[in-house]
Subunit: 250 residues, 2 copies
């Protein structure tokens, strides 16, 4: 088994991604919802059909694509038809199968419709550029975290291929979902995330921590329970079902 | 006096920028120094004469310039000759004078030569893209924080113009520096920054905080003492000396 699929490695990557995501959300929570940055035509962008956030996300992805961000198996773009890399390809083989699974459209929908209204104060403070720059960071962190489900799934599969084989052959998505679900691990993750949100989101002055939070910690845990964990498991199931026809290269 | 120059407003902006900077540095500290991303010719980028970080920073600034980031008085680009904004100009008058003060070249030098080797483990982990994306966020946060000295200086000047007038007329930089320096405020800032670094940089598991830090808290306070505070005061002095000849528009 590829070293990147080792359980301790996967666990440490997932845990470290929690900080990245919490930091990004705390940054975004400085600004109000600013609904018009998510609306097509909400801001007058010449020669671009999407929203302000789509404009900035697309531009960022176009730039990052030139330095081969999306040739990495743990990165998934929100946009198609990005520029080719200007750097030579990396020789590293991917530890996961090359599938078509990419749920970024759903991730962006969940982010804009559910996460932003929960994390940010209602209203408009005209901080459109700052908000959208934070949105790009949040969306990239969410996408990376959720699509990391492919690594999780490959690792789970490699540990007990015989248990998965009949479910995959039968296309039994509910059976696969049951097999990849570990309630004890999920409960521990939610506790850890709430602790982190309480620590990293607290206001601090020269005398130490205060009782104020930039985002209520419970809200971050709820976001994991209601969105991030289910979407990750959707990626795991979709990946495994497609995997049968797209074997791992490494 | 413009509302943005109110002391409480300035204080809260500076305090909030500490989180942004600490979060960005904690993110960068995941990766090793990766010295080649700062070297011209360190990576083979076609048709670009600078380093890998310069390439990504320039591309990011070019994108952000199109959504008028650098028309805001609290934003300063690292590169010249960026594209014009595609959005209409904002009508808001600037609370500070239009000076030419921009010390980003020095900020980048300090960041690459002093801050990165302090914050990151020595060596090369090949995480060039991820490191450089973090560098862009760190450099933007540092630049914003340090150039916010212009707002600080304008506010200090407005509170006692008669005290500044003779020093400014005489071009007495040392006298201006002495007048803007408040040792008690600086000591409180260093205490607060160390508290924040201790909180936001600590490792946390499901049982709560552990004794481990992603960056030693003392190191963040040292960075403020040795670099951020002196550079901010340099901006304040340079701004005030130039300000006499470039009056505030608002």
């Amino acid at each position: 088994m590829h070293a990147q699929l080792d359980l301790d490695t996967i666990r440490s990557v997932l845990i470290r991604q929690e900080e990245t995501l919490i930091f990004a959300l705390v940054e975004r929570a400085q600004f109000k919802v600013n609904a018009r940055i998510y609306q097509r035509g909400g801001m007058p962008i010449p020669n671009f059909a999407g929203s302000f956030v789509e404009y900035l996300l697309h531009g960022t992805e176009a730039l990052h694509a030139t330095v081969r961000r999306y040739t990495s198996p743990d990165e998934h773009p929100f946009f198609e038809q990005l520029p080719a890399p200007i750097l030579p390809a990396l020789p590293a083989p991917s530890p996961i199968a090359a599938t078509t699974v990419n749920i970024n459209a759903r991730i962006r929908q969940v982010y804009e419709q559910h996460i932003i209204p929960a994390v940010c104060a209602a209203g408009d403070d005209e901080q459109y550029g700052s908000s959208a720059v934070c949105d790009v960071a949040c969306l990239q962190a969410l996408s990376k975290r959720i699509h990391y489900g492919k690594f999780v799934a490959e690792s789970k599969y490699c540990r007990q291929p015989a248990a998965f084989a009949p479910l995959l052959r039968a296309g039994d998505a509910a059976g696969v979902l049951a097999l990849i679900t570990d309630a004890a691990v999920e409960a521990r993750l939610l506790r850890r995330v709430e602790r982190k949100a309480a620590t990293y989101g607290q206001e601090i002055d020269a005398d130490g921590p205060t009782a104020a939070y930039k985002i209520p910690p419970r809200l971050i845990a709820d976001m994991y329970r209601d969105w991030i964990m289910p979407l990750t498991k959707d990626v795991e199931v979709a990946y495994l079902l497609e995997r049968q026809h797209a074997p791992v290269s490494a």
